[in-house]
Symmetry: C2
Subunit: 415 residues, 2 copies
């Protein structure tokens, strides 16, 4: 089945916010076997919305709209839709009761703008919004479907998962489609592609492989399409096993996890605690680790040692090594990791020291040079990386590389 | 003048990447007085590209396209354009020489795919790409303009700045437009709007005000339109001054800076150093500070004290206060800030301790409760915040609030 996405909002058109809804919705639709054929972003203008909706319907089986439903907005979308379908606006009592309960719970006052939110096109089936005040709306139209959702990402996501995806599946019965995302770190896409050349050539016709590269990580997505879901599941399990056997230790997850999630999972499993010692990554590793809910089960804390004095005084890095080898060096990275374990009292620590840029590079140590170390038990490993020229990318890549090194060390020791 | 954006690429449609080019281009176009009327994302399909281009031209004076120009791609866009304009493809010798120089410089081998990149529609004016191998293309068509750019963000941005914006300005001579972005922190959009009601009402007709809210920050953008640039500049200066006088200390920048940039600027100016002590923000404050190039001039380091043992052993928080008041409390926040100053040796420190969620809340201290403290000289201030239920948002808001508190303290003391 084909879908057109139609996003309404001047704030999108003028670039005040980036349209992240489109990518989220496309990925969600893909899981039920639906394909986005075009995405349109239109401004807060009734005639333009109707024209874009007409075009959207001419290209696809369904048009999913977001935006233009809030209490302070003009409720433009609803009126544009009523006019488009040639129906009146009606007051929905159930919607009003839901809103009043929401306001009671939060002890807030409602006003006329909120009452107006319960005025909806007569042909709308309302999708109750537990995350906000504007309901979603589902319209059946000449065998096609039009859905209107609020533009706030978590409200849209809630309504997509609760009503829209199941509803589209029910209505259009697209072919089943299963996915498995295998996450790798440290190998370039081209290297993986070479290793997987014959695996790819031998894939059964129902299964396909896609490469989703990002900074320092490559995700591999296996997709199986066909009529028999049970059989597809077995096929995808079998191919995942093959793929992991070929790629070995660069695979850290077969469930689409981020590296910090996979690391957290094995730390919890092995009852190990972790600490960080960060120079060039400036707290980004600790931030990634603590972005995972429940990280306090295994993350004790860290030191951001930007200045050399902090490396010496807090982490116990030896002054003579700083002097002799420089802050960006193997001995300093090792001593930072070992010092962090000691001062924080953790089983495991990772450390980074490098030149994030844009300045501070030298001919021997150009911008992007980073030493990373990890220490666990009686083992400390260290590796030198050479990333790029852009500060933000260097920080991100060094943080991912450090998390991957910690993961390797735990897996290597603990199986 | 009106512009349609047309982004080509299956990777956008399937949600593999988020379309950040659209927002960047819209903001860039706005600076020359051009307005985006619609954004279309279409897949790698020749007929679809041509249809979208036709629609784009029917709505606007210019269509700016991105994507579908790379060496490994099908070069679909170029062929679709040649067919659309009814012209042949021709080999561009200057483009080929440029490519050969690039390959020589990087010591790489060229292949037939690279030679094919120099095959362009006969009516194209080429825009040399210093950042990559695919040139941009400019087409004049019935008084309108079509531009095709590579989809890689920094290549697109380079070509926009070097050729497309100046070219559109030259061709369409849109009315001059000046902007000034005033950044505030800690006040809700509705509160600011109330304070600015009469300011807004009294704005001269050439000047308009827009609210750009994000988490815990609100940016206010003044825009002046008219024929006389000199006069507009004076008007916008005058209105900025008025606005700052009304809003007072919640304004941290009149130049569109992020709070970490503004903080860095005044720390550098007053030759002060800063340290962080983070519990619930988990390193995110340090990460924000160090995302600014040159942060090592004023940022010495920080401690992420997730576990209570780290709060006590590294930062010197008293065990009896942790026991009596709990980790999320005013005395602990204060001692963390003071402890960080001491252990890191910095002039100033900020500290956070709170419940990021989703678990860990209690009736007295629900998820989203955060104590933030800042310490400078003989002064330590602390404030309790109540953010929301979502972990990621709580971490982000607490980090911004902490940076704002540091900024206030420096401005308050140092003027």
């Amino acid at each position: 089945m084909k879908v057109t996405l139609l996003h309404i909002g001047d704030e999108l058109l003028i670039g005040q916010i980036v349209n992240t809804n489109a990518a989220w919705m496309a990925r969600a639709l893909e899981t039920i076997g639906a394909r986005v054929v075009e995405t349109i972003v239109a401004g807060d203008d009734r005639a333009h919305i109707q024209d874009a909706l007409r075009r959207g319907l001419s290209m696809a089986d369904a048009v999913l709209m977001t935006g233009g439903l809030g209490p302070t907005r003009d409720d433009l979308t609803k009126h544009a839709l009523a006019e488009f379908f040639g129906v009146d606006m009606v007051f929905d009592e159930a919607c009003w009761q839901h809103l009043q309960r929401l306001f009671e719970r939060f002890g807030k006052e409602w006003n006329d703008a909120h009452r107006a939110q319960c005025l909806v096109p007569a042909n709308a089936r309302l999708l109750p919004n537990r995350m906000g005040t504007a309901p979603g709306m589902w319209f059946a139209h000449d065998g096609k479907v039009v859905v209107s959702l609020p533009g706030v990402p978590f409200e849209m996501q809630h309504l997509m998962e609760a009503y829209v995806l199941p509803g589209l599946k029910e209505h259009f019965r697209p072919e089943p489609r299963l996915h498995r995302t295998i996450c790798t770190v440290g190998e370039a896409e081209s290297v993986l592609a070479q290793k997987l050349a014959s695996f790819e050539a031998e894939l059964p016709p129902e299964v396909s492989l896609a490469y989703l590269p990002s900074l320092f990580e490559v995700r591999l997505r296996l997709t199986a399409k066909g009529a028999d879901e049970e059989r597809l599941r077995a096929m995808i399990d079998e191919q995942t096993e093959k793929l992991v056997a070929i790629l070995g230790s660069c695979v850290f997850s077969t469930e689409g996890e981020a590296i910090e999630e996979a690391l957290g999972r094995i730390l919890r499993k092995h009852k190990l605690t972790i600490a960080t010692a960060e120079s060039c990554t400036g707290g980004h590793i600790a931030h990634k680790i603590t972005s995972v809910p429940g990280a306090s089960d295994y993350f004790l804390g860290g030191v951001v040692s930007y200045a050399n004095e902090v490396k010496m005084n807090v982490l116990g890095v030896r002054a003579e090594d700083l002097h002799q080898h420089g802050a960006v060096s193997e001995p300093v990275a090792r001593q930072m990791a070992e010092g962090a374990r000691q001062v924080i009292g953790a089983d495991l620590a990772v450390a980074t020291t490098g030149i994030a840029g844009p300045t501070g590079g030298t001919p021997e140590k150009p911008v992007g040079t980073v030493w990373i170390a990890a220490s666990l038990g009686d083992q400390t490993v260290a590796r030198k990386y050479r990333f790029g020229k852009m500060r933000g990318r260097n920080i991100e890549m060094a943080a991912v590389a450090a998390l991957a090194m910690a993961w390797e060390l735990v897996v290597g020791r603990a199986g």
